[in-house]
């Protein structure tokens, strides 16, 4: 139902996302690792402490309100990408969100739409390109912005510039700083989990990024068999080894 026009293209476009040896897409690993290390160093010394302080000082409802405000601006792009992917329902939900939250939600600060069962659709141009058939894409770690693929770069650019386009001069340094810190504060738990779990945080981040993108491209419903099939090669190796044992 939800797939409509994009169904055929979508399924074709995602075939290349099967199999999860994402390291193979990281053809500039040495450069990307340097970019990661530099970004991580700046994050740990400047951005993360500011985000932790922000989280400590701000009441939860203020933090949520700030996140809602900037998300509301970016929902315009999500709506457009819903339509571009041939999912009018998804696009319409995002447009409704913008209309409701911008008015009743006091400029987007209060997310009434989610309470009324109109959840954020989380579409972007990278997903649109995947739906249109851009199957495989190289990994890039963009300094100070985070993990991406070449395919996702235009969407990343839209995401970072959209508030400035909508707010104009009102999106000055202090406001863009608030935008950055609020997003980073929202990610503190995720990066803390990564730091506790990961043995090689760079490889962990890369794999998590690709998996998350695949999940979004499939609108939260990737084929369950993929997770069996992607480990079939390891099983085959084990079977070979068992067969060759005396």
């Amino acid at each position: 139902m939800r797939w409509l026009l994009g169904l055929t293209i979508f399924m074709g476009g995602c075939a290349g996302l099967d199999g999860d040896n994402y390291a193979a897409f990281d053809q500039q690993e040495s450069l990307n690792r340097k970019s990661y290390q530099l970004s991580d160093a700046v994050d740990r010394s400047v951005v993360l402490p500011a985000a932790r302080a922000y989280h400590r000082i701000m009441p939860d409802w203020v933090e949520r309100g700030v996140l809602n405000f900037f998300l509301n601006l970016r929902t315009v792009a999500s709506a457009a990408n819903g339509f571009l992917q041939g999912k009018p329902k998804s696009g319409a939900i995002d447009l409704s969100r913008v209309a409701i939250n911008s008015t009743l939600g006091l400029g987007g600060v209060i997310d009434w739409a989610s309470k009324w069962n109109l959840p954020y659709q989380e579409e972007d141009f990278g997903q649109t390109l995947a739906v249109w058939g851009y199957k495989k894409s190289r990994y890039v770690y963009v300094p100070f912005m985070g993990p991406a693929t070449v395919r996702d770069l235009p969407g990343l650019l839209v995401r970072s510039t959209l508030p400035r386009i909508i707010l104009g001069r009102d999106y000055h340094l202090a406001i863009s700083g608030l935008d950055l810190i609020s997003v980073r504060a929202d990610l503190v738990t995720a990066t803390d989990v990564r730091d506790v779990s990961a043995l090689d945080p760079y490889a962990f981040t890369r794999d998590a990024y690709y998996q998350r993108r695949k999940y979004l491209i499939y609108d939260g419903e990737p084929p369950v068999d993929d997770f069996f099939d992607s480990f079939a090669e390891d099983d085959a190796l084990e079977d070979d080894a068992a067969a060759s044992d005396p």
Partner: protein
């Protein structure tokens, strides 16, 4: 009439068998969820590990998780190293569960569906958190044992394989064991990252 009664009984029988079968296939996961909810009320990491350990190790196919996570290097490992590695991974999985589920704030779990797959089945569940978005937790089972947990589309096994392969490739297998031992200690609050 007698025939109709038989059909109805057969259908009812099939249905109840189907339900029982479905319930059986999710039983281990649901029991894990019940234990996690109890564990979240216990203040001590060691108490949570004691509560969860036996069930987690019975439910999870740690041998398969270890083998797939190690990639091709598994084949060349001597039996002793394999045992050491599987033992460390078992400790890490239990310690990580006990560490992550350490505070009860009204969370609950819902089993949504049991979906058959080509070589096993998937138990689709949700972790519901008050005032926060739910997290989808999908358990992948073969022979009724969990070999992968996928949270909001991110596969634990795939992450492990990428992470461990990178360490094996860059530092060697013994370094992986050192890292794992450190992570166990970290989850237990015995050392710094």
């Amino acid at each position: 009439m007698k025939r109709l009664a038989w059909v109805l009984l057969s259908v009812a029988g099939c249905l109840s068998t189907g339900w029982a079968h479905s319930d059986d296939r999710a039983a281990g996961v649901e029991q894990l969820h019940e234990l996690l909810l109890t564990a979240m009320t216990l203040p001590e990491q060691s108490a949570r590990e004691n509560l969860l350990g036996q069930h987690v190790l019975a439910l999870f196919d740690v041998q398969t998780i270890a083998r797939i996570s190690a990639g091709q290097s598994w084949r060349s490992l001597p039996e002793e190293k394999r045992r050491e590695y599987v033992d460390l991974l078992s400790q890490l999985i239990v310690a990580t569960y006990a560490d992550r589920f350490d505070a009860f704030n009204g969370q609950s779990f819902v089993t949504e569906e049991i979906r058959p797959a080509r070589s096993g089945h998937v138990v689709l569940t949700r972790l519901l958190r008050p005032n926060d978005t739910p997290v989808s937790l999908d358990y992948y089972l073969r022979d009724n044992k969990v070999f992968n947990v996928v949270a909001d589309g991110v596969s634990d096994l795939s992450l492990r394989r990428a992470d461990y392969s990178s360490i094996i490739k860059n530092e060697g297998f013994d370094s992986l064991l050192t890292h794992l031992a450190r992570k166990v200690a970290l989850a237990r609050g015995e050392s710094n990252p």
